[in-house]
Symmetry: none
Subunit: 307 residues, 5 copies
């Protein structure tokens, strides 16, 4: 185990060896093993957006085995999915790639202003499926954020006692925020801080814009001249907001987008001190060979092989 991996593990000083073991498994799998960087494949969009919106562009994605294979062949650090998708492949692929069980999910058949995800799995499910971590989404800004924070607290306490790691998707949404505010730098940094304060080991946020949502925050950002002009600066600020970089923060790729754009974003994450990307639709919605090439380029950016 190299220096960097040990350094990262040392930040989780209150966790038991079981949790640190599972964090080490995340850090030491795939092409980025040992670099302290991550590319994770998440496939919860079937639940979150519906099957056709998720898988029609590349129909192989309807098959749960496809994503295990994609994550394996691409050399991702881990594969994250809801209960059903993991149950449908965890037996065949047992022991081949670290798994993260998403313990809550949200669909858009009921479109609410203040969303709250349903709890769809348990810590015991994660253990019986051989996962290294639980995943959980919170929506800071929602009228129901308190409910989600409390669900996370309970699941997180149990997961840590059983030696699992906790990955939190912290996505600002709801009536407390404008649409633009959901990715505003002050809001994203705040969302990262909330996840860290709730005890997350790994934090997943969206890439922030330079927009400042909250008046009280805006004043401080301007007075203190917090550097947030470039994407790389904003990534650095989010990392700083996650316990000065002492928690792993990774960024989501979002909707399918121009490749060049995604690569530029990965470079900004890397240069801003971010720990990596969680890339779903941009990878599994294109033909397999292209997806592998695409993911290898991003992995190369993080490993330093690609400039």
């Amino acid at each position: 185990m190299n220096q960097r991996t040990q350094e990262i593990l040392s930040w989780y000083e209150s966790d038991n060896p079981g949790t640190r073991t599972n964090l080490a498994r995340l850090l030491n799998h795939g092409k980025l093993a040992g670099t302290g960087r991550f590319v994770i494949l998440p496939v919860d969009q079937g639940f979150e957006h519906g099957p056709a919106r998720s898988f029609a562009p590349n129909v192989l994605g309807y098959n749960p085995h496809y994503h295990f294979e994609l994550a394996l062949e691409a050399g991702c650090n881990a594969y994250a999915a809801p209960l059903g998708f993991l149950e449908a492949g965890a037996g065949k692929y047992a022991g081949r790639i670290p798994l993260i069980l998403k313990l809550n999910n949200h669909d858009v058949l009921y479109d609410e202003k203040d969303p709250a995800s349903a709890v769809t799995g348990s810590v015991k499910d994660a253990l019986r499926l051989g996962c290294v971590a639980i995943g959980f989404t919170i929506y800071p800004g929602s009228a129901h954020s308190t409910l989600m924070y409390q669900q996370l607290r309970e699941l997180s306490e149990e997961a840590k006692a059983y030696g699992l790691a906790v990955v939190v998707w912290s996505y600002p949404r709801g009536s407390g925020l404008s649409k633009e505010g959901e990715t505003a730098i002050d809001v994203v940094a705040y969302a990262a801080q909330i996840a860290a304060q709730l005890g997350a080991h790994v934090i997943k946020v969206k890439l922030p814009t330079a927009h400042l949502e909250q008046a009280a925050a805006k004043k401080v950002y301007e007075a203190e001249q917090v550097p947030i002009k470039t994407l790389s600066e904003r990534v650095r600020h989010v990392v700083q907001s996650s316990f000065d970089g002492r928690r792993i923060v990774i960024f989501s790729g979002g909707a399918k987008s121009d490749d060049k754009n995604v690569f530029e974003e990965a470079r900004a994450i890397r240069d801003g001190g971010g720990f990596g990307s969680i890339i779903g639709r941009n990878s599994f919605q294109r033909p397999r060979a292209e997806a592998i090439k695409f993911l290898h380029t991003i992995i190369g950016i993080y490993s330093g092989e690609t400039p």
Copy 2:
């Protein structure tokens, strides 16, 4: 045990042998034993719509024993009902036909826009009554969908630990959807996906229309030219949306309808790769002899005996 049955069981790779045994019992009972196809008799309409609406057309149906006998004589794979109906016959008919205990039910004496079924049975009830599976209804699109998903999660975890199978009725309803949207192809496919992601072994949905309800989905269906013109194509898309056919999906017959129509639907289900039908009112609301003949015709369609 034939090839096809073994293939279907192999999809449930994370389940214990107990659950696989009970799935095998479903697959190997009745006239469709070994075909990988299903015709299931469900009688929860007494609770869901009231007794007269359900049983006045054929008063024999008021008697709980009637439905056990109907399912047996017709050669159905299983009989599904709420606690009361099963308790009123499970002793006499013990060991004759696989039973599915519907663990939640909803009545229309209180008519709400956003329905949520009440939990009316337990996993232990299912075991003491000798059932092979629990049944549970979710209403994606309802403001209370989260509650139902979470109830299902808990019951499902317990059922799986005790070796039972989980059958989910996934019926889009509620203020998130238009009336037409409840059977729209994008919505039904989505509902099937949600049930699968929640860990269902068997998914029951309504037959979908070609309507597209959600704007974001519509764009994708059109862009990707997902074939949804014929009923058979739509069935195929729903099956695809259920883990690429790696989960058993059966279709409900709905309200009493013209026989020819029902037979055409069965053919479309068969040709679209659907696994079968769950037929209640169309069978128990007609005289027994007619019902048997009617069900045999449908079973014949699935077995290939009837063209």
Copy 3:
């Protein structure tokens, strides 16, 4: 379900439909389905006597899959074994044959005068492995019989609540009895009665001799002229001692023996009103083809095909 099967089930009038369902599964599987007769394959000798003594005569028996296949091909009603043997095949053979999990076992590496088996499995194990029943051995006559009766009571109560059947091996042994007394007719009849009183659904005893062990009993047998001269009479008396035939009683084949002898015994069991045989070493210790032929002959005796 035929008359006889229904009659047998009717004896278990206090049991829930789940337990009766599992009894029906035992009654309705294999070549003797529907006859009310049983031939069960038990393979716990690896634990009870050691592997070489059990499997060296036919080395295929070392493989746990072999016994599933043997029971299937022979058309036995069920296969009974300890935890390890069932775990090693219950996945592959899920749903093909009723399974009985032997919940206690005894080895002969420590040879005690008053034996007590160790509890080696749980009711929850039986459920997760898809079993229809638990099996449990008691040694009436042992100084530790009380312990075993109490263990059985607890497991049996739990098994019945979860809808499983209870099969009791009632083998008189221990310092309370002479060697000859272990198979004495008064003792075997007594052992059957104890199992029945403990709530067993199915009772397994050894074939009794005409010896009378207990003085107080002897007096009565002689005074009342209880007919025990022929094996068939003795079987009838054991069946009578099992609630006048209202509990299923089957007889163990014992060590490997001359075929003619075994067939004669089966005829005596049949003619005495016994419900069948549980045949281990006499079947799995010979080449597979011979074993099948041998078991088919016995099954024929019970079904009436063989005179």
Copy 4:
């Protein structure tokens, strides 16, 4: 994951993906990763024999970190130890090597004829320390064997539910056996069978001699001419007795011995189809450099690099 590893995992067909994942971790770590062979370092002798007898020959062994480093540098598949030794290093070495928590231990300050180990750790301890398996010792032949079988049963059921593997040390001892009988081939084969029937995933036994302890067994070994003359033949018979090779069986090295002898034994294990060695005193009681060289030779024998 290669063919052989997948084949081995396929034997554990009733286990959940979590347990299979942890078995895969054992199979895929160290220099023997992917070969289906094992060299495991166990250090429980401090408890079992006392500290000086264990560590005075190489005083570095008093330090708990030493054994983690030794197992790592040698490329062992896993390191097994009691609670104290694991707690004293699991933090520092988190994620570097699969750990097995020995859940029971026995000391010789009270020397009883019929030993029973004390339970010294829990399944939850194993999870919080990041272990892949629990370890447990049984003493078939002891008057207290029943107690130990039952403790194992409970711990094993819990461990399997939480996705851990179960490693059983099956060491015949106690008043039921002569001293010579403890390693007699019939007894060792029996001990392996008992562990397998109790549900062990990995079985550890001592290398057997050609002695036959039990009269009833002796008769069968001679009648069936079971080949047990060479060590390799005896290993093959023990493997056969472990579900015809469908359970992983490894052999303990025993007290410190001549190197040539140990290498010959490893070759016999390899040639007899054994899965590997668990080597404690022979490795940690010599200087580190020598120990590494020694272990590499054994690993080479299993991998085929050393003839």
Copy 5:
């Protein structure tokens, strides 16, 4: 917090911050704060030997408050006592001195050859009384050692989860040992190892003699020439046997003795790398002023102030 204290805390790498906090409280209280050395006042003799034998020599000792005051004034690191004594003073002296609740005790009104202490307090008691640690006595060598190890295991797991430290009195006694053997160097070193393997944070043993009790151990001590001639060498060996000094080991003073002798022993403990003394009867059985002076001398020996 100084270097040495941090070093000692670093050994407890698998413990949560709560346990490490309580260990730090022990390390940082009294006159030896920050030295890594300990003098602890234990008063359980009222239970263990009876009140008059314990307190008649200095009747102030009958009063529970006396011992709190003595420990405070002397500058001890902690005060250890059974439930009653702590309950009788923990309110008044709350927050003034670290407390250790002895969770088991033994009296001599029933004098058995193979003693086992009764559990007389709980982890919850320790928390409600504000203790930093639980204390527990084991008697290796007793026929009941298994029972005590298992009680300790359970209490220890609970204590660690709640952030308490665990202090184990490891006193060899019972029919497995000669009287002389109870303090034999091989036996005391073994007892320390057992406590460490059971997960103790702090180990308390008696000062060992040069006697060697066990034949198998004697051979090794002689062959390896383990230095055990002087008391200081023996202390060093016991410390080595406690995970090479990575667990805190303190030594008990035993019955009242000549002061010079006690001081010599303290010097031997100090020079042998022992962590300190636990001194009961030698302090509380003399007049308070003398006791304070006596303890200050010992503390001076450990701090280096007294030569």
